[in-house]
């Protein structure tokens, strides 16, 4: 039971409570045992309690308290956005957001699509059942 995601300068984390819920931030400095200084491209650098952060696998190569420009450059070099959007965690969140924003008409179209797909699956299954001999 070893820890794999450490709190370190450059660790990318997800804010899981509060006004900035759902935002990806980089730990830029550690204030004390409980709090970190945290920064992101479209946000004012601020302190936040570790309890409000969920650490991700992604790290950025920065020194302690970099300038905003340096931080943004380092984030682009580490390709944080793409890594996040391709990770299973990131993809899950994107799907959740999409589902929550669905229109009534969208929900209807999805229902039709699900029925169509289930129909195709059942047809294939029936075909395979016919061919199979146990």
């Amino acid at each position: 039971m070893v820890f794999k995601r450490y709190v370190e300068i450059g660790r990318v984390a997800l804010i899981n409570y509060g006004k900035d819920y759902g935002r990806l931030v980089v730990i830029v400095d550690v204030v004390d045992q409980n709090r970190a200084l945290v920064d992101a491209p479209n946000m004012v650098r601020s302190q936040i309690n570790f309890k409000r952060l969920s650490l991700t696998d992604i790290t950025v190569n920065i020194k302690r308290s970099p300038k905003k420009k340096t931080l943004i450059k380092a984030m682009e070099e580490a390709d944080v956005k793409n890594k996040w959007e391709n990770s299973s965690w990131g993809r899950k969140l994107i799907v959740q957001k999409k589902r929550a924003s669905l229109n009534d008409f969208d929900r209807f179209k999805i229902m039709l699509a699900k029925i169509k797909r289930a129909d195709l699956v059942r047809r294939e299954l029936a075909k395979l059942k016919k061919e199979a001999t146990f």
Binding site: A100, S101, L102, N103, D104, F105, F108, K109, L112
Partner: protein
């Protein structure tokens, strides 16, 4: 009179109460009385040009192009109930008689008005795939759907 900002001509509304509850209908215009003039279209879901109170309606964000539809003719007066033959409650014979009500047939001009409005509407609806079957289906809450979290 006030109309909710989300309800503009061409919006698809979900009727929440009455005979057509759950039906998705197209909003035409707001009548002087404040009620909303709404139509199925009739061929798609059986809702005729009808008045509906906006309190009993959910406005979705789906909009149909209603520019080709002329709803000018409709007014509150068209929807007033015809004066029924006065039924005398004292006449018990009539009361217990098998209800042989003469069904008042819908005057033809009403049917023509409805057809005129719906013809242009249906053309605008067929532009979008699936919109026709969407309007033909009723809305209902399913397992796991949280109304206060749904986006319409």
């Amino acid at each position: 009179m006030i109309c909710r900002a989300s309800i503009t001509p061409g919006t698809v509304l979900i009727i929440l109460a009455g005979r057509f509850k759950g039906k998705r209908v197209v909003f035409l215009k707001q009548l002087p009385s404040g009620l909303l003039l709404v139509t199925g279209p009739f061929k798609i879901n059986g809702v005729p040009p009808r008045r509906v109170n906006q309190a009993y309606v959910i406005a979705t964000s789906t909009k149909v192009n209603i520019s080709g539809v002329n709803a000018e003719k409709f007014d509150d007066k068209d929807f007033s109930k015809k004066a029924d033959k006065k039924k005398n409650i004292k006449e018990e014979a009539e009361f217990f008689e098998a209800e042989s009500k003469v069904k008042t047939k819908l005057p033809n001009e009403k049917k023509d008005d409805q057809k005129a409005v719906d013809a242009a509407l249906i053309k605008a609806i067929e532009v979008f795939p699936d919109l026709k079957s969407y309007l033909g289906a009723r809305f209902s809450l399913q397992d796991g759907m949280k109304l206060h979290e749904l986006v319409f």
